[in-house]
Amino acid sequence: MNTFKKMLIYLCVAAICLLCLIPFVILIILSLNTPQRVFYEGNMFLPDFYFQNFAEGWVKSNIGTAMINSMIITALAITIIIIFCSMAAYTIARFKYKFNTLIFAIMISCMMIPGIINTVPLYTLMIDLHAINTLWGMALVCATLALPQSTFIFHGFIKSLPRELEESAIIDGCSWFKSFWKIVFPLLKPASASIIILNGFGIWNNYAQAVFFLQDSKKHNVPQALSVYFQQFAGAKWNLMAATAVIAIVPVIAAFLLFQKNLIRGLTEGALKG
């Protein structure tokens, strides 16, 4: 019975993984096809092994610089999100000041406002701040967009932590502020890990904001580098685009493998256990 159940679980997991891998496989096949190849014809799963796409894609799109830019933006934005949001969520969850409730209410309700309203005013603001074509400006905008949801997530998790943990520290002479960093913040690892995953990919792949705030081609991020293969009236150069996208995914996977131990530990080390 137990082995049967286990088998079933493995089967399900394998099926899910297969489903999630499909687009990735297609991406790789595309990146290895010649421009003449029609995807639907012949054996779809046997590409032409045309490696030139990668060389051409690398040169034409400046994807190297773009990856570094995306990396800096993502790292900066994630750091801001984790620190600011966990702090905000802590005080909101623990202390019922009117002012805290108000901030939380404003943030949650603004989550529901479509960002396009802001486009023009935000653009003027960024110009006034001299933040156009800067990675920090882009990181701040990306972080801002993720603030409400991340605060919301942290808030949910902090509420589920027993208050006694900090109170014992307070009795030992710690201030609330200190006890947050010493006791609560380390307990937030699972939530932090999930926030990194939730927002990291989105910021890495941000296109909607990058279009306005990263105009200089030296400051382009990954999707912008990919967009140079789009012809308005004649389709796109899909093979080059796929090859470039594959190149751009490599560091993400590498980073994931590098951090995965920490991330997974963050996710699995429910600090409450024990």
Binding site: I9, V13, I16, C17, L19, C20, I22, P23, L27, L30, F39, Y40, F84, M87, A88, T91, R94, F95, F99, I106, S109, C110, M112, I113, P114, I116, I117, V120, L122, L125, L140, T144, F152, G156, S160, S175, W176, F177, F180, P190, S194, I197, L198, F201, N205, P223, L226, W238, A242, A245, I249, V252, I253, F256, L257, I264, L267, G270, L272, K273
Partner: protein, 289 residues
């Protein structure tokens, strides 16, 4: 315990709020003002009161877009939650290769949305895509064509693709929630004779309420403001058949109806607010139980 001392902890929300105020609330107040004008993005704006709002409810296309959006959300939000929870329960069990499996589940999110639409097209395009050829080999080509050509089923395709792409994200939050449940509780439940479904019902589910709340709310918001999935798969078409409110807002904004588009955005805000408030009320009651 009531805390009435004021210390550093009182101001811990300020950095986040300051950032938010500068980059969101300040531009927002400017943006909301535009909803009462006929601004076209270039020439001087004229104050026209609530005319934009009145116009919205008289526009057949806008009403159709509300219907499309609601239909999409009704299918997508519950399904996303269920699938996300199922994924999380699977990934929480003690199996080998969890790390790799999780990474694979996030992979779709790493592929740039610019390409994602094209890949979906290669898979799903009627009479050309991979799935069509597969069905053709099974002698089901005609039924496949009927299935994808019809309006209601193309909505189904959109919902399924959306669930497929974002289930991993929902899973992450559930997974974190599951990990926060102390093992002792399960053990205690086991001692009381509850196992399997019963321990899920009485231990897991109640303690998962914070995660459920987060996921329900974010999925409602995400589904009702759906943009990129529809844009990359159908472009809102054919015609306006699958156009969502967000796409409508974007098109109005770039179609020299900037003032009107902000008015629609405000209407959309209220459209999202109602189900979010309801679900927050419901999950709050549950967590007090």
């Amino acid at each position: 315990m009531k805390d009435n001392k004021i210390g550093m902890h009182t101001f811990m929300a300020l950095p986040a709020f300051f950032l938010y105020a500068v980059f969101f609330l300040y531009p927002l107040t400017k943006g909301i003002g535009m909803s009462l004008t006929d601004w076209d993005g270039i020439s001087a704006a004229k104050f026209i009161g609530l005319n934009n709002f009145i116009k919205f409810f008289q526009d057949k296309r806008a009403i159709n877009d509300i219907r499309t959006t609601l239909l999409f959300a009704l299918g997508s939000a519950p399904l996303l939650n269920l699938v996300g929870l199922a994924y999380a329960l699977l990934m929480d069990s003690k199996i080998k290769g969890k790390g790799i499996a999780r990474m694979i589940i996030y992979l779709p999110a790493v592929i740039s949305p610019l390409i994602m639409g094209y890949i979906w097209y290669l898979l799903l395009q009627p009479s050309r895509g991979f799935l069509y050829h597969l069905m053709e080999n099974m002698g089901q080509a005609d039924s496949f064509l009927n299935w994808t050509a019809k309006y209601s089923s193309s909505m189904l395709v959109l919902i399924l693709v959306n669930v497929w792409q974002y289930a991993g994200m929902t899973m992450v939050v559930y997974l974190a929630g599951l990990q926060a449940i102390p093992v002792e509780l399960y053990e205690a439940a086991k001692m009381d004779g509850a196992s399997g479904i019963k321990s899920f019902r009485y231990v897991t589910l109640p303690l998962l309420v914070p995660s459920i709340r987060i996921n329900v709310v974010t999925n409602i918001i995400g589904s009702l403001s759906v943009f990129d999935i529809i844009m990359s798969l159908t472009g809102g078409g054919p015609g306006y058949a699958t156009e969502s409110l967000s796409i409508y807002i974007m098109r109005m904004c770039y179609g020299s109806k900037t003032g009107y588009s902000t008015a629609v955005a405000i209407i959309m805000f209220f459209l999202i607010l109602v189900p979010v408030l309801i679900s927050m009320r419901l999950t709050r009651a549950k967590s007090l139980e």
